[in-house]
Amino acid sequence: MKKYLVLILLVVSGPLWGIHASAHELTPTYPKLEQSYIPNVLQTKVKIWNARVDVNHYKLEVTDVFWNDVPFIAEEKLFKLDYMERREIEIFLPSDTTAQYICTRSMLQKGARSRSMISSKVCSKIR
């Protein structure tokens, strides 16, 4: 319990200490595929949160267990997400899909001022 409290405090109070932390989160960890309203098409939803002040675009990737891209449909595969915004992403897949991972990757601007940049990629695993 104490451990969780420390973790929550760290996340919540970071900005108060002057730590310029910036976070990227994707939930749930294990999304489930469900039948969509279209025959032979499955669907699932994931939610992304952008707390990276240096990033405002993310790329959606769906891959199989070997990290090969698999076909999928989403409203946007490359999308804008402003600082502190959340977005629910609906993904449609064929019923015989081999999709295993749904990932969001931060897109960094070329020529940005920082010389060593951090690209974050958070994935969910389909079960």
Partner: protein, 165 residues
């Protein structure tokens, strides 16, 4: 008369208050958050060398991983092996780098470095304890055979991934 009214009314209110008790239900779901705490900077101690070593004027990037539940995720961090932007380079750049745990929120994470798996430029850690882990990345690029880097801005990218197990 008034007393006869007030006493049953107060009892009724107290009884209602007791009925109004409600539960607060919470759950902790698995979740991984990647936090970029410090963006690195290359120092240029020699004309042919760019390094994040603090002793050479560099700043090491620091990435924090927060996991709310143990054994759900692995962290994969790749130190750079190429510039994402730089002036035109006509000679070979030799890359070196490392990733290590710099701070932990739980002492049980102290063996993360011992248990990590390394391949190519990737360092893979199983996040077996809930809490926060800070990773420090070092990167060094040497140009040619002690050849001077052309003037300009150099950018390299550290890839931080969080993959469910």
């Amino acid at each position: 008369m008034l007393k006869n009214l007030v006493v049953p009314l107060a009892s009724s209110m107290l009884a209602t208050g007791a009925l109004a008790n409600t539960e607060i239900i919470g759950s902790v779901d698995s979740k991984c958050i990647i936090i970029s705490e410090t963006a690195g900077v290359y120092g240029n101690p020699n004309p042919y060398e760019l390094t994040t070593a603090p002793t050479s004027g560099g700043v090491q990037p620091i990435i924090r991983y927060d996991v709310l539940v143990a054994d759900y995720y692995k962290a994969v961090i790749e130190h750079p092996v190429a510039f994402s932007s730089s002036p035109t380079l006509d000679d070979v750049v030799t890359w070196d780098g490392d990733v290590e745990v710099s701070e932990v929120s739980d002492t049980n994470m102290s063996d993360y470095d011992t248990n990590k798996v390394e391949y190519d430029n990737a360092h893979e850690y199983e996040l077996t304890v809930a809490g926060s882990t800070w990773f420090k990345i070092s990167s060094e690029a040497d140009y040619g055979y002690t050849k001077s880097f052309p003037a300009g801005t150099y950018t390299a990218i550290v890839e931080a991934e969080c993959i469910p197990l």
